[in-house]
């Protein structure tokens, strides 16, 4: 009797192991096309990029360690591009997050026509970047609509595109393009919020502000993290608009990291390119890590 049950157990165990290994292989097969591609086009060459960033030239292969990084960090063009990009992200990302959160709350406050408004706010997504740029020129040209509008209030004409104001113009463009999508993400999160908790808060007499800061915001924290990271990625893509608006060499404040990279690609300076890419990767990882830690602290007790 004992024997029979033991063999049965053995058979079961054997089956289990067999199934597990089969599943492992199966899982690997499904992942393979993607993972092989990622290795070929991203991971392996990035290893080479790291290597290139530490040697003196692709022909000599002398190991110089941090020399290239020092050169890049001392490069005036890189410094300017990095500062401009950081300033742009530091201004536009918080604005994109806060404004879209406000918009989402506005649309969720039981006003009529919610779905039409949603469509309107999402519509900038489908407009090609290049055609937006045309409209932006009509608006912000020295003789454009914005100056005409402002002049009715007696404001002096501003050369929006060829002065330090061009950053304001691009921030507006960025917000216009990205608020809709962020707003949808927040609306989804607001809808998934536990209703009973908010009702209890109502009964206890909590005001709308208190409800927002003490309940809603905590439940929104994973979405906040997501929207922040998404906006950060998109803020790096603003180069598209800048490039189409003002070409390879824009006026001062809009010389972005991508401009620097383009010009370095043109001269094919591998050391410069590689060390700049590695530096940016490190900075991105640090920023994202900090965001993750903040979110962990803030939203820990409401998850799960």
């Amino acid at each position: 009797m004992k024997n029979v049950s033991q063999t049965r157990k053995k058979i079961w165990n054997g089956l289990g192991r067999n199934r597990r290994s089969r599943e492992l292989i199966g899982g690997a097969v499904y992942l393979a096309p993607s993972f092989i591609g990622v290795c070929i086009f991203f991971i392996v060459p990035f290893g080479v990029v790291i290597y290139y960033s530490m040697i003196d030239s692709p022909l000599q292969h002398n190991f110089v360690f941090l020399e290239n990084f020092k050169n890049v960090l001392n490069n005036i063009a890189f410094k300017q591009a990095a500062t401009n990009t950081l300033v742009f992200s530091a201004v536009s990302v918080p604005l994109a997050v806060i404004l879209s959160l406000l918009l989402a709350n506005l649309l969720e406050s039981k006003i009529p026509g919610k779905s039409i408004f949603r469509t309107f706010f999402l519509s900038p997504m489908m407009v090609p970047v290049a055609s937006i740029v045309l409209i932006w020129q009509v608006m912000f040209h020295y003789n454009g609509a914005a100056n005409d509008f402002l002049s009715t209030f007696g404001v002096k004409k501003i050369d929006w595109l060829n002065s330090d104001y061009n950053q304001v113009v691009v921030v507006l463009l960025f917000l216009w393009k990205n608020l809709g999508y962020n707003m949808i993400l927040f609306m989804a999160a607001l809808n998934n919020m536990p209703k009973d908790l908010l009702e209890v808060a109502d009964i206890e007499g909590a005001g709308p502000l208190r409800k927002f800061f003490q309940i809603k915001l905590r439940y929104l924290s994973p979405t906040l993290l997501f929207v922040t990271i998404l906006s950060l990625i998109n803020s790096f893509k603003v180069f598209r608009e800048v490039y189409l608006l003002s070409g390879d060499y824009p006026y001062g404040g809009l010389y972005m990291l991508q401009h620097f990279m383009n010009n370095t690609f043109r001269s094919l300076d591998y050391q410069k390119l590689s060390s700049a890419a590695v530096l940016m990767a490190i900075v991105m990882v640090i920023i994202i890590g900090v965001l993750f830690i903040l979110e962990n602290r803030f939203g820990k007790d409401v998850e799960g």
């Binding site: 080479v48 519509s123 407009v127 045309l134 020129q137 994973p222």
Partner: protein
């Protein structure tokens, strides 16, 4: 008393939302409206903006101020006929965009759904590490990823060919992440049930998982399409052959030239996005709803 106060507040909020919506719509509507304007009308309205840089002909009447008009004085299809029948260049560039973007969207979503299935069904330590690598890669801006992409293209001799853009586009990890998030929400009991009924992995994947992910697949396809339809960074670095570049890059070059044409080309370029968007907005919203958090 309290009720009427609430009503006032709601009307107030509605007006704010309407104001915002109006501002958001202006550029889109203007682009379309302007594409139906004749050159003379455009000159009259925007002459002061584009004069000097454009071929608008400075002799005709120009308004003292820029006029933003949402309905043209007279509808003209001339710009469109020029684009469609007289200058094959634009259609060529449009076609360039199509043959770059369509394969990327189709194969990226296909490969990503396989990978997402793998990340959903077979979890383990190694898988979690690989998934984390995917997240990091997804968050890297083009400024970082274009350098490795360029190196591979150079080694393989793909530089200046369309493959230099298509291949990295196909394996880009963005949609793997979003799809995995979505698939992990499908209840395991459903999958177990299919398994008990004797369905193999492939059958579970195609008959259970994919149909349930329809909205996510659609929304991701839209996002990927829009992103690549507007690409600028990759073509100017990986595809220096101007004749192969997509319209998204080329549009900037007509901006300064013929404004009327540029509006018409822009509107034509908008049509695929418009179609996808109107067709799939519900999916888009639903897909977003279930993949809205980066962790978990």
């Amino acid at each position: 008393m309290k009720k009427s106060g609430r009503l006032v507040l709601r009307v107030f909020l509605f007006l704010i939302a309407a104001g915002f919506a109006f501002v958001f719509l202006i550029p889109t509507v203007l682009t379309i409206a302007d594409s139906f304007m004749s050159q003379t009308e455009l000159t009259a309205k925007y002459g002061r903006v584009f004069a000097g840089t454009s071929g608008l002909g400075g002799t005709s009447y120009m308004a003292q101020k820029v006029k933003l008009v949402f309905i043209p004085d007279s509808v003209s299809f001339k710009q469109y006929s020029t684009v469609l029948f007289k200058s094959p260049d634009y259609l060529m560039k449009f076609w360039n965009s199509v043959i770059l973007v369509v394969p990327i969207v189709i194969f990226q979503v296909a490969i990503a759904s396989l990978a997402a299935y793998s990340f959903t069904r077979f979890r383990g330590r190694i898988k979690e590490i690989i998934f984390f690598v995917y997240i990091i890669l997804m968050l890297m801006p083009y400024q970082v990823t274009l350098v490795p992409n360029y190196l591979v293209a150079e080694w393989t001799g793909l530089l200046d060919s369309r493959w230099a853009i298509i291949l990295p586009g196909i394996v880009a990890p963005f949609s793997v992440f979003l799809l995995t998030k979505f698939m992990r929400r499908i209840s395991t009991s459903l999958i177990e049930a299919a398994k008990l009924d004797g369905a193999g992995e492939w059958k579970i994947f195609t008959k259970v998982c994919l149909p349930m992910c329809k909205s996510a697949l659609y929304s991701i396809a839209i996002l990927v399409f829009i992103d690549y339809w507007n690409m600028v960074e990759q073509p100017i670095i990986l595809l220096s052959d101007v004749s192969k570049q997509p319209l998204s890059v080329f549009l900037s070059k007509i901006n300064t030239g013929e404004v009327g044409l540029a509006f018409a080309v822009a509107t034509i370029y908008m049509i695929p996005c418009l179609f996808l968007f109107l067709h799939g907005e519900e999916y888009l919203v639903e897909g977003i709803t279930y993949s809205g958090a980066i962790k978990g």
